[in-house]
């Protein structure tokens, strides 16, 4: 357990001191290294530019031997993200058969960002959006931009339950700002 925390702490330190492009990381609860809140800026020259997307990264207890779970807390119009409040995302390296314990979270987050730059319509979670992406790009871009305006402007809201938990922790343990936590 201790050694796993050593690995996670090291990754967190790396991610906060030299974060991947467009990415900021916070811990909603300082004492829980297994839940990260990530804010991802919509990459320039994409339909997502100008949006701020919240990602929730959950590390299983046996991380890094099992893959982390990444979900979108902000609604996004994208072929590879479920168009619902769950925000599940399909990412190759996170599948059990592909996951390697040496894979770093920074790399995973970069892969999520790459997915916004280049959606993968051939491996979709939303088949309809994937079809639209392939066949009617203008319509897709219009819809994606409309989602950005509607959901991804202003400060990122992570889901209500997590927010409540974090608020509870703050109330109990004082201000939740630690060395490893960077406010966007």
């Amino acid at each position: 357990m201790a050694s796993q925390n050593k690995r996670i702490a090291k990754e967190l330190a790396e991610c906060t001191t030299s974060p991947p492009a467009g990415i900021t990381i916070t811990l909603p609860n300082d004492s829980d290294l297994h839940r990260w809140h990530v804010t991802l800026a919509g990459p320039d020259n994409t339909v997502y530019a100008g949006g701020q997307f919240g990602l929730i990264v959950t590390l299983p207890v046996d991380y890094p031997f099992r893959a982390p779970v990444v979900t979108f807390a902000t609604r996004i119009y994208h072929p590879n993200v479920t168009n619902d409040s769950l925000g599940n995302v399909c990412l190759g390296p996170l599948k059990a058969e592909n996951w390697k314990p040496s894979t770093r979270l920074a790399g995973v987050l970069e892969a999520v960002r790459a997915l916004l730059v280049e959606p993968q319509p051939d491996d979709p979670l939303e088949a309809r959006i994937a079809d639209e992406f392939r066949q009617d790009r203008a319509e897709f871009e219009k819809n994606a931009r409309a989602y950005v305006v509607r959901y991804a402007k202003g400060p990122v809201k992570f889901d209500a339950a997590v927010g409540a938990a974090a608020a509870g922790a703050e109330a109990a343990g004082g201000a939740a700002t630690g060395a490893a936590v960077v406010r966007p």
């Binding site: 050694s3 796993q4 690995r7 059990a96 058969e97 390697k100």
Partner: protein, 526 residues
């Protein structure tokens, strides 16, 4: 399954890499080159020749665990000799090539280094695997760097501490059930961990599970082999019927343990209905379970006096205890009409379909039609169970009877044969109704329904005799009648299955739905 698919696509991309490879049809092709594989099991061909008698029989062979192990060992030894590589490597290569020895040897002869790399056996010089302690080493997985940390690396040189290796392997083996294709833990490294390295890194308990999984992959990798699905049975069955043939044949096999199952879909024997119809039927029944629930109930009301009647045997000939009315449990019609030329209990009269003009009436007719077939399907399923109960009860009584009547155990075995015939025939009858539900009427359906009727009448008659009180069963005359009826039932079953299987093979049936195998190749099957 995901891993399998990925594996297949790996292999196919590998094929693209090797351009002058003559047969490029590996991935997605169900045959996977088994056709050109010379027959390893020559003696099985003899068995098959003897066994194949009727159109509905498929040839197959049952292997016990030691046979399965021996086959693997022989293949590994052969590759080890021919290619002069270590046995561990031969095993990894064979698994990579899904145990297609010829293909492996051919490709290895052509370009050994590419084959080794593709299979995760990058070639560098290395002795036997061993643990090492390296000064200044930091494990990249757990970030530990304490002095004296024991570590291990495969030929690729990606080094991790023993603890991390242990956890990684335990997650793969215990958590994911993976064995044959566990890669080096380094990101992007495809080198596969061989059995000897693994033995060095994990506890004996994990090693055991690992070898068990390896053993299983041999059967799972081969399209011609399947595990017997019976609980606690460790046998494997070999059958050469391919996936794409499943719309033409219902490959039913019987394991040495006595379990009869379909090689195509691993479900219980479902002749004469083809796998895809069975799948559709079961889904429909599950979706409509509410509607159909009342049918499978054990009690119904007497159609004449409305008193409640409970069914406690397999026989469908019911006699109301109160008013003595005799009726059929399935159609609730007069029993006296059954067994005469008036008998049409098994046939659904489509007449009302033409009268139905509005959508509501049409949907009622289609529901009635479904209920007609479902009713009979569920009924035979239930009757098979009840017949079995009766047999178990009877079996006990027969022990007593032996003492009184002086009959020997051998002499009462006719009841066992009758019981088995009832189970088997009911199982077949049950699926004839699912089959008939999807059948479009043509000149063949009449013959089918006649066969179904004949079998059903024979089964009901046998079932009725079988339920007679013990005292009557001891009568030698009834014994002869039961024996005759038993063999008659078995004969009728064979006739029905022969006819349906032959028409299926000839493509002579027409169905009211599309049920062609979605995974099948569209070309003519051979």
């Amino acid at each position: 399954m995901d891993t399998d698919d990925d594996f297949m696509s790996n292999l196919s991309s590998e094929d693209d890499m090797l351009p002058d490879d003559s047969d490029n049809d590996v991935s997605g092709d169900e045959d996977f080159g088994f056709d050109d594989e010379p027959d390893v099991y020559i003696d099985s061909q003899k068995d098959i020749g003897q066994r194949k008698k009727t159109p509905f029989d498929v040839s197959y062979k049952v292997f016990q665990p030691q046979d399965v192990q021996k086959q693997q060992d022989e293949l590994i030894d052969e590759v080890n000799m021919i290619l002069t590589i270590a046995k561990e490597e031969a095993a990894i290569l064979l698994r990579y090539f899904r145990w297609n020895k010829e293909r492996l040897i051919e490709q290895y002869m052509d370009r050994p280094s590419q084959v080794l790399e593709a299979a995760g056996l990058a070639q560098t010089t290395a002795g036997p695997p061993k643990l090492r302690t390296i000064p200044g080493f930091t494990c990249d997985i757990c970030c530990e760097d304490e002095p004296g940390l024991q570590s291990f690396a495969l030929k690729c040189g990606h080094r991790y501490c023993v603890d991390c290796y242990h956890q990684y392997l335990s997650q793969k083996i215990k958590g994911e059930g993976e064995a044959a294709r566990i890669q080096c833990p380094a990101e992007g490294c495809t080198l596969i961990i061989d059995a000897r390295s693994l033995d060095l890194l994990v506890t004996s308990e994990l090693t055991e599970r690992y070898h068990e999984l390896l053993h299983r992959t041999y059967v799972e990798d081969k399209e011609t082999l399947k595990w017997c699905p019976a609980p606690d049975c460790q046998n494997a069955v070999e059958c050469r019927v391919k996936k794409k043939d499943l719309d033409q044949v219902v490959p039913t096999v019987a394991c040495l343990c006595g379990y009869r199952f379909c090689f195509g879909c691993i479900l219980n024997d479902h002749q004469p209905a083809p796998c895809q119809l069975v799948k559709k039927w079961l889904k429909k029944c599950a979706d409509d379970s509410e509607t159909a629930n009342w049918i499978s109930a054990n009690t119904k009301e007497c159609p004449k006096c409305n008193s409640t009647i409970e069914k406690n045997g397999g026989c469908n000939h019911m006699t109301c205890r109160k008013c003595k009315h005799e009726f059929c449990w399935m159609c609730m019609g007069l029993w006296s009409e059954h067994g005469t030329s008036w008998y049409n209990c098994n046939r659904f009269e489509e007449k009302s379909g033409t009268d139905a003009r509005d959508a509501q009436a049409k949907s009622r007719v289609s529901l009635e039609r479904y209920l007609h077939y479902y009713n009979r399907y569920a009924n035979h399923e239930q009757s098979a169970r009840l017949d079995k109960d009766i047999y178990h009860k009877t079996e006990k009584k027969m022990v007593l009877l032996q003492k009184e009547s002086g009959m020997s155990w051998i002499e009462v075995q006719y009841l066992n044969s009758a019981s088995q015939a009832l189970q088997m025939c009911r199982q077949t009858l049950m699926w004839t109704y699912a089959f008939a539900f999807y059948l479009k009427r043509n000149n063949l359906t009449e013959i089918f329904e006649d066969n179904q009727k004949d079998l059903e009448m024979a089964v009901e008659a046998l079932s009725e005799m079988f339920e007679k009180p013990i005292a009557e069963l001891a009568d030698p005359k009834l014994k002869v009648e039961i024996m005759d009826k038993t063999s008659y039932c078995n004969k009728r079953r064979v006739i029905l299955l022969d006819d349906t299987a032959q028409n299926l093979a000839d493509g002579a049936w027409s169905f009211n739905i599309e049920f062609m195998n979605s995974t099948s190749n569209s070309g003519p099957s051979t």
